[in-house]
Point group: C2
Chain length 332, copies 2
């Protein structure tokens, strides 16, 4: 097989949340393989969703990216391991241990055990992630794909809600808002606790500075991307870029494929049009990939150039095509 002419930017850095971001990056990766490109892809993943459960450190977005790219994901759910069983979870519930609303699968548990033990031994999350990726990314993708946590410091995204039981306004962990309450209560605001003191993980600012193209994956602007931008220096690094930055909207006809992005945009941004998405990234993006169903709703984007595409990532081809649009559709 001969390598096709290099068409992709040599270095692409992607800011990503969980399911949507992981699927998009899988598309980038497939595009890279198909074009025979040696593009270096660096993924900076949100860790604001991270949560300690049953004494274990769980990093949903890192794991979703890792499992998706390493072909270990449950493709139907979009998260967790394929061929998963839930016996430990059943037993934890039988012990009466809270919380019962978050499901750790038996296979998935191994990841959290390895991670927690390494963290306890003093390794930073970035080193742990690198070690875990030796299993998931290195065999399939060689050195061309790196996954970095946004920070080694603890950041927790909390959502201010009115508690459905007590009626009191309180801040709950994003996972509690999303998994336990199924985002059925309005999100009054989002706070990335610890972000103001969080230092970007080793390599993060360097990957932003070295990139030929920055991409914001189709992830929730409030709970997936904002926490990354909130870590010290990351927003400034993106704002001061000398290369293009393109975001992919996570909404199709104003609806999220998965997750509470649409509810949150409606409440917190005042709407779910492309302009509302673009407003979340004010000063940070040059182009916004929007779904073709939103083609009649492209007002108010200002200097952000709309790129219209089919954004539903139903299968591998759709993911690759969306990646090609995002990576090729920017002014070079």
């Amino acid at each position: 097989m001969t390598a096709a002419p290099r068409e992709l930017p040599p270095k692409v850095t992607v800011l990503s949340g969980g399911v949507g971001g992981a699927r998009f990056i899988q598309g980038v990766q497939r595009l890279r393989e198909r074009t025979g490109s040696d593009t270096e892809i660096t993924v900076i993943a949100n860790t604001g969703d991270d949560i300690w459960l049953h004494g274990l450190k769980v990093c949903p977005d890192l794991d979703t990216v890792m499992y998706t790219l390493g072909d270990g994901i449950d493709t139907d759910r979009g998260w967790g391991r394929k061929d998963e069983t839930w016996h430990a979870k059943e037993e934890l519930a039988a012990y009466g241990v809270e919380p019962t609303w978050f499901g750790l699968g038996d296979r998935d548990l191994a990841t959290h055990l390895v991670r927690t033990q390494m963290l306890d031994a003093g390794y930073p999350l970035s080193a742990v992630t690198e070690a875990l990726c030796r299993r998931w990314l290195a065999p399939a993708h060689g050195q061309g794909l790196r996954l970095l946590p946004m920070s080694d410091d603890r950041v927790e995204t909390h959502i201010v809600i009115d508690d459905p039981e007590s009626g009191e306004r309180r801040a709950v962990h994003f996972q509690e808002y999303w998994i336990r309450h199924q985002a059925a209560v309005p999100a009054h605001s989002v706070v990335a606790i610890g972000a103001d003191k969080a230092t970007p993980a080793p390599g993060v600012l360097e990957a932003i500075a070295a990139a030929d193209l920055l991409v914001i994956a189709p992830s929730n602007p409030y709970v997936s991307i904002a926490p990354i931008l909130a870590a010290r220096g990351i927003r400034d690094a993106v704002a001061q870029r000398s290369v293009p930055c393109v975001a992919v909207s996570p909404l199709i006809s104003g609806r999220a494929v998965k997750g509470p992005a649409d509810q949150m945009l409606a409440t917190l941004a005042g709407g779910t049009s492309p302009k509302h998405v673009a407003r979340c990234y004010e000063g940070l993006i040059d182009a916004l990939v929007v779904d073709e169903s939103d083609v009649l709703d492209l007002e108010g984007l200002g200097s952000v150039r709309p790129i219209v595409a089919r954004t539903l990532m139903r299968d591998a081809d759709a993911r690759r095509r969306l990646a090609a649009t995002a990576l090729g559709g920017v002014p070079a």
Copy 2:
């Protein structure tokens, strides 16, 4: 149902290791139920087998007793949970994490997660064990059955072996000797590391002092019972008893039903006859229950009275009969 006349001693305290001890205690428990007795049974379990694996505190003997009495045990293996799966173990191996020779089942993991999290929160092992037993013992057995770890302090039984690979003499954790090397290498000596500084757990000395009958379960004298006796004050408390103490030999025709007791007695006690078992408990027992197959080999027992019985605990009836022999066959 009317209560049968009380025939069992009101308070029985049993020193126990894992599988053999657990099955024997199940027999005691069934005897208690059948006779309608309100005998209080206190089990003091060995914790010298305990091991930290993948960041989790694993207490094999406590768990074997707990699962056996709570009907959660895999009855064929004698240890671990019934209907168990091994997915987390597979995944840990896929990460290349050592050790791979110790199998933590998915259901079993939940116990270790709960335990580890409670220990991390500052609860002593005895309080953790009490909490876990609320699930396993309380529903089935009410307040009549208590399970205590011998100590809240860390004790680890190590076995001095000649390493089969390097040939060097070294001390390995009992689990490594037994599970990894399958006891296929001679045990030169046994050291209960930490035992000299270990304080008996709350209730242990009290249960020995308050007992109307002390029982040493059919467990390995060297690695199950000796570590219990080695914790500060326990050996003295048994030696200074004013009530009978009966041991049940774990050997049948000089062979262990399970575990390395026979190899260890052969090497460390010079033989596997009843007198060699009795010698392990010198000054501590008044009677020794031996299998009927050993009836021609009862010399050298000194003041220890032999009680001959069928000791193979094949089923519930056999366990109950052996318990009846041990509890009733002592001079009251």
